[in-house]
Each structure stands twice: as C-alpha cells, then as structure tokens.
C-alpha cells in the first residue's frame, strides 16, 4: 500500500497537437492540503479536469489507494471519492440546502419509479447531523438563494463530505469571499484534513497558499517544475519557479518626483458607506487605499469617479471644484476608472478587443460622429503591442482572452483617453503572476509620466510594494495615513481593524 492516497503519474495531454500537459506527476497524501500553483495556462485546470474525468489523458495513469483507476466522467470521479468544488458554483438556487445536498440521490420515502416521494424530513435530519459534525451554522431549510457565496461553498464542502470523498479539489475557492469568510473556510479545511481527507487547493493568492498548504506543486507551461513541503518555499522562490525567470523585485517601485496636487477630496461622505474622507493626490504619486472588505474603499473610489453622488463633501481637481453627475463628466476631466470587477463593469464581453479598447476615446477617433477605422485599428494595435496583450487579433472577442489579458484591455481602454488621474480598484484581482508584473511595471511608468494613481487593493504586499503613501479605511472612516517609510503590515492592519473593535 502506497503512502499516497492519490497518484497521478506521467500525465500528458495535448489539444490539437499542442501539449498542455507534459509528463506531469502529482502525489497527494491523505490528510494533507496540497496546493497547485502556476500562471494561467500552466495546466492546473487541465490536470484537475483529467482527475475529475472531464478530459481523458493521452498518457500516464491515475492510482487511488495504490490501485490503478480509469475515470471517464465526473460521475465516475465522484464514485471514486473525488469531488471538485468549482470556482463558480452552480447550485439550484430555489431549492433549500438539504435538497441541494441530496440532489440527484434523494432519500426516498415511497418508491413509485420516477414519481417516488422524497423523504424531506430524513434529508433535513441528515443535513443537520452533517452540519453539526462540521460545526457549520446554516439552517437546512434555508433556500440556496438566501446564502452568501461563502455559505454556498460550505454547503458544497459538506456535500463532498456526505459523499465520503477522500479527495476534494478546490479551484480558487476564496476568489469571492471576504476575509472573515476565508477564515471560516480555512477552519473547515482544517477539519477535513484532520479527518484524513486530501485537499487539492488551487489559488492565485500566494499568501493563502503559504497559510493553508502542507505541500506545494508548481506547474509552468504544462510541465512539473517542482513539488516540495511548504517549509522549503518562500515567497520569492515560489514566484521565481512559477514565472521561470529571476525576479529581482516583484514590485518594481520607481522613484518618481512627486508633483503638485491634482485631486483633492474634502470631507466626502456617502450615507453609511463612508464618512468625512479627506486626502490629496499628487501628480506622479501612487496612493494606496487599504482596508478590510466592506470598509468602503470601492464605494469611495466609485463616488470620486461619479458613479454615485456623495451626500456631503467636495472633490477638487487641480484646485477647481468638480461635481460629477455621470462618468462622462469624469472622462472629460481626464479621470479614468479601472473597476473592481472587469466582467461586470469593465468590459463588453460580447465585443472584440478593438471595440473594447476604443470605446471611451471613440469621439477622438472620429469626425462628425463617423469612426476613422484605419486610425482605430492603428491605435488598437499600438496598445496591444505596448501592453503585450496576448490576443489572436484585435478582432478577437475579449471574452476569449485570459483574465490578465482582459485586464490589460481595460487598462488600454482608459490609457487611450490620456487620463491624468487613474483610479484602480483591485487592479490585479484574479490574474496570473506574469500579467500582474506587467501591470505593476505599467503603473510605475504611468507615475513616472506624471499621472496620479489611486489604488484600492486587498493585497497588502501589492500596496506596500507600489504605493508612495497609503490611507486606511475601517468601517467607512479614515483611520490612518502612512508614508512609505512607515509601511508595515502590522501598522496597516491595526488601522484597518480600528473601528471594528469599537463597534
């Protein structure tokens, strides 16, 4: 009997003669959290899709408990005790928790073939027992619709346990969670681990990986770069392995002379979202806004951009009072906004790369309302090249690009308007390390060109690496301001949790 519960050996997979997995092996012990990291396209999801039977491998074999198995579809994977909790969950929203847990394998009270009567009571009872065992506090009769993303995820996890799965795959489970919910998720992972369940954990957030994982496997370009215990890794080494080149400094901070004040916010308030926020932003400066989820950071950024109207307070641009009713006003004042959720508010996924990039600056690429197509194509190609956007052509639908390249499209769209002030809300959320680095470099050169950047970010290393100054919000109040030489994780976190404790 092998010491490993799951062994994937020499797995290869090609799509149309392109190797996406080349002799990759993965060995997972019972009761360990095994993180798989790598840039987008490294082959993480392909490997997991092979494990769960979505794809079949061209070569290699999978062994469970030392025995060779063939997995041809997700149902077979489940039968073998392998469950996958997807990035985007798809529960039946209008059914209750118990019904979702027993979906497809309902407990039957009276058997009438397809018209059998479901024993709802027994389902609720079983669900409550499961929840009690896991210490989950969700009513079994609640509708899935009423639950938060984190709660839905917990239900999925409980479901995996109720199937007595021995391997649980989690693909970016925290991408939609608040920090508190992440903590709850980690508690559950601990419990699973203590019950001997093996967890395969895929995440872009390296801090999390270091926190939760026992073992890390690094993939790059479809090849296995290394597997080792987490104690043998540090942040820099991991990134080096993922990106495959030596990154002297992951956060390339350029020293830029700070210019005059371009944006000033005075006593800005918006209902209960945030109160009495005042700060100044200078040309060439990167100002970070830190804080916990729900502290009002995004709301503040959106309010400055004119997506909502402040209840009180004023905004000044180059000393002149402005009152933005609509983003159109902000665009006219050369303010750009990279929103938090590119799919929801940043991009038109039904349109091409070109049409997305030129959308805001269209009037400048046209005469009398008629678009100059040659000029449009030309500037689009320039930006595709300048930001190294990986796309088949400018006509490619932006939906077909990877997250990092989509984010670059959003950036290109706004850079084309030649903004003076750039508001960036989570500019590197959910994108791979390579694209992150590109965006950091870009931010540096924008600052060097005299642009003022206001950056909201949940990733402290990012803020501390790039910002000249940081202001911290907690529960809608500005609780602190730190200059670059005062930066420390502890100081920022202390300010960020200040008002939480006082209620």
């Amino acid at each position: 009997m092998s010491e490993y519960i799951l062994e994937m050996e020499h797995i290869s997979k090609s799509f149309s003669r392109v190797k996406v997995l080349d002799d990759v092996s993965l060995k997972v012990r019972a009761g360990e959290v095994h993180a798989i990291v790598g840039e987008n396209g490294a082959g993480k999801s392909t490997l997991m899709k092979i494990l769960t039977g979505v794809y079949s491998p061209d070569g290699g074999e999978i062994r469970l408990h030392g025995k060779k198995v063939e997995i041809h579809n997700p149902r077979m994977a489940l039968a073998h005790g392998i469950a996958m909790i997807y990035q985007e969950l798809n529960p039946v929203l209008d059914q209750d928790v118990a019904e979702n847990i027993f979906l497809g394998r309902e407990l039957i009270r009276y058997h009438f073939g397809p018209l059998s009567i479901v024993d709802k009571q027994a389902q609720h009872q079983h669900t409550q027992e499961l929840f009690a065992r896991m210490g989950v506090d969700i009513p079994s009769k609640a509708l899935m619709r009423q639950l938060s993303v984190a709660q839905k995820q917990l239900v999925e996890i409980v479901k995996a346990i109720s199937l007595s799965c021995s391997v649980v795959v989690m693909d970016e489970p925290t991408s939609a969670l608040t920090e508190k919910e992440v903590a709850t998720l980690f508690e559950q992972i601990e419990k699973l681990r203590s019950q001997g369940v093996a967890i395969i954990y895929i995440s872009h957030r390296l801090e999390e990986v270091f926190k939760i994982a026992d073992t890390i496997t690094v993939l790059r370009d479809g090849r296995l770069i290394g597997t080792d215990s987490v104690s043998n890794f540090d942040h820099d080494k991991l990134i080096r392995m993922m990106v495959g080149r030596n990154i002297e400094e992951f956060y390339p901070k350029q020293n830029v002379p700070i210019g005059e004040v371009v944006l000033e916010v005075r006593n800005l308030s918006l209902g209960k979202r945030f109160r009495n926020i005042s700060f100044q932003l200078h040309a060439g400066e990167i100002l970070g806004i830190a804080g916990l989820v729900g502290a009002g950071r995004s709301e503040l950024a959106e309010c400055i951009f004119g997506l909502s109207r402040p209840t009180t307070g004023e905004v000044y641009i180059r000393g002149k009072r402005v009152d933005f009713h609509h983003p159109q006003d902000s665009v006219r004042h050369r303010v750009a906004m990279i929103t938090e959720d590119r799919k929801l508010t940043g991009l038109n996924l039904k349109a091409s790369v070109e049409h997305n990039i030129t959308l805001v600056a269209l009037s400048r690429l046209s005469r009398l309302g008629i678009i100059d197509s040659d000029k449009e194509a030309q500037v689009t190609d320039t930006y595709i090249k300048e930001l190294s956007i990986r796309t088949f052509s400018r006509k490619t639908l932006v939906a077909n690009l990877s997250g990092g390249n989509q984010q670059k499209v959003v950036l290109a769209k706004w850079l084309l308007t030649e903004p003076d002030i750039i508001i960036m809300d989570e500019p590197t959320r959910g994108i791979d390390v390579g694209a992150k680095r590109d965006i950091y470099l870009l931010m540096g050169s924008l600052a060097a060109a005299g642009k003022a950047i206001l950056m909201v970010s949940s990733e402290l290393p990012e803020i501390m690496g790039l910002a000249d100054r940081v202001i911290v919000l907690a529960a809608g109040n500005m609780t602190g301001e730190l200059a670059r030489h005062e930066f420390s994780q502890e100081a920022i976190m202390r300010y960020a949790s200040e008002f939480r404790q006082n209620g």
Binding site: N40, G41, T46, G346, L349, A351, V360, I371
Partner: protein, 325 residues
C-alpha cells in the same frame, strides 16, 4: 503563453464565422432551390423585384427593430405605430386640402414621437421594454381607431398614392428604393458611427458602458425614437400602397419585424448582430412566402414553415452561445 489558449481562440473564431455566414448560406440555398424548382416564374427579374418589394415594409421596420434589439431592448409597438401614422397620413392627404409634404411630415413625426416616449419609459421610467412597448402598442392602436373613428380613411390624392405605388424608370418600385436606402443608412450608422458602436456597447454590457462615460439613457431613447420613426415611415408607405389609412392595419407587423431580426442572426439578448441581419431576414421571409405561393403551397402551410424557420434560427443562436463559454 499557452498555445492551447490561442488554438481555442482559433477554433472559436472559425465557429463564429461559420454561424455568421450560416444565414447567408441558407438564404442562397433556398433561393437556389426555388430557382431550380420554378425557373420560369420564380427566377424572372420582375418576380425577383417583386420579392424585394414585398420585403420592403417589413425590412424598414426590421431596420429600426435591429437598433432596439442590439441595444438590449424590444419594441412591440411598431405595428400599432404603422396603423396610427397611416391613418394620420391618409387624413391629411385628401384632395385639395394640404400639400403632400404635410401628411409625410406628420405621419413620420408621430412615429418618432411615439418611439421617443417609449424610450423615455424604458430609460427613465426603468420599466422593462417588453412592458413599456406592450402598453404603448395597445394605447397607440386605440389612438389609431379614435383618430380614424373606427373605419378606414379613404379618398387620398394621386400624388399620395404615388409615394409607394410609383416606379423608378418604370421598372423599380419606389418601395424598393426606400428599403434599400433605409437599410444602407442603418448599416452605415451601426457599423461606422460612434453612435452605432455605443448601441452595441449598451446592449453588450450596460454597466460597463455607463462606467465608460456613455449616456446609456440617451442611447436608449435614441434607439426607440429611430424604431418609432421608421415605423412612422412604414405606416406612411403602407397607407400609400393600400390607398387608405386603416386603423386595423399593421397587426402583428412587430412580430414579423422581430422574426426578420432573429432570422438574421441578431441575438435577442442584445450586444451582437450584423448590419445585414435584418435585410437578409426580411428578404428570406419574403422569398419563402413568394416561393411557396408559386409552388402553390397553401397559406396555412406557409405559416407552419415560417414558424419553423424562426425556431431554427434561434436554435442556432442558443447553440452558439452554449459553445462560447
């Protein structure tokens, strides 16, 4: 980076272009079959011109509908607008009363105003377009009946009759010219102008459009105004063609226009669709009607076939979306 990603993009492109050309292929195929089946009557130039003529009023409505649907909306009121503007046109076209320009301006103006009000309801009232235009469809039909006092308005001038009934060089019906001009302007606006691009962006992702500084509400008002105006034009042309203003005309014209748009591959969920979609759609409906007439297929069966084609078109649309994600 990952070559697989590129390859995937490639495959998707091929699939998308296949679908894009699909409707054109179907169109050519059907025309080809009909030409083979009935070379003597179907393929005659006069009949081909006749087909375009039959398609023209629906084609004009469908051009307006294209703007609305690409912006993510729908306009159910165009059939009623056809009736109202027709009645108004005929009422001001009695011999010896007003110059010809009066019925022309009034009927199209009424259409434009009705569309503008639809747009206000959708954009600022925040009412779903289906509901707004369902309501206005009923109200405008009522207004047409009130204005006409319940019966058709007859007795119009020869000049009025000539608006739609005349021919260029004695061969090409004016109706065909109006259709071609409308479709051409529509295509130009959609593909080459800032406004057209914004219509796509509003239908593609309204929030992203707003963040990008686009006045989404104004775009919405504009597309419904265009649709209403073109419905006014269609009403004028229909009144001229039937030499009267009939308050019960234009019933279910909105559905024919929507059918043309859908058959033309323009997605009902907004944000995508080609400029020629509505033209091909309207022509295809006319070709099928005409071809089946020539082949002596009864009108009842024609309905059956027309419906099946609409469903097939939407099926293609749904399938392609399922494959995209």
């Amino acid at each position: 980076m990952d070559k697989a990603g590129f390859l995937k993009q490639r495959n998707r492109l091929d699939f998308a272009s296949l679908r894009e050309w699909g409707i054109l292929i179907v169109f050519v195929l059907i025309v080809g079959i009909l030409m083979l089946l009935s070379p003597s009557s179907f393929a005659r130039p006069t009949n081909l011109i006749n087909i375009v003529k039959q398609a023209s009023i629906n084609g004009i409505l469908a051009t307006g509908m294209t703007f609305v649907i690409i912006s993510g909306g729908i306009d159910l009121s165009v059939g009623s607008i056809v009736a109202l503007s027709g009645v108004i046109a005929a009422s001001f076209a009695h011999p010896g009363e007003y110059p010809l320009i009066v019925p022309i301006v009034l009927s199209t103006l009424v259409g434009g105003v009705a569309g503008f009000l639809n747009g206000i309801g959708v954009a600022y009232g925040n009412i779903p377009p289906f509901i707004v235009t369902l309501g206005s469809m009923t109200m405008i039909r009522g207004m047409a009946l009130i204005v006409a006092r319940g019966s058709p308005v007859f007795n119009v001038t020869k000049a009025f009759e000539n608006i739609a009934g005349g021919f260029l060089f004695d061969t090409i019906p004016y109706l065909v010219i109006y259709f071609v001009v409308t479709a051409a302007i529509g295509a130009f606006v959609l593909t080459r102008t800032v406004f057209g691009r914004r219509v796509y962006s509003v239908g593609g992702n309204e929030m992203a459009a707003k963040v990008s500084g686009i006045q989404v509400d104004r775009i919405k008002v504009a597309v419904y105004s265009i649709s209403g105006f073109l419905a006014g034009v269609a009403g004028l042309l229909l009144a001229s063609r039937i030499v009267s203003g009939n308050p019960t005309s234009g019933v279910s014209y909105e559905l024919d226009a929507i059918a043309a748009v859908v058959i033309g591959g323009i997605s009902l969920s907004g944000g995508s669709g080609k400029w020629y979609g509505a033209v091909i759609g309207a022509l295809l409906i006319a070709v099928i009607g005409n071809g089946l007439d020539i082949l002596n297929v009864s009108a009842h069966f024609q309905l059956l076939i027309k419906g099946a084609i609409i469903i097939t078109a939407v099926l293609l649309d749904v399938k392609s979306k399922g494959n995209r994600t």
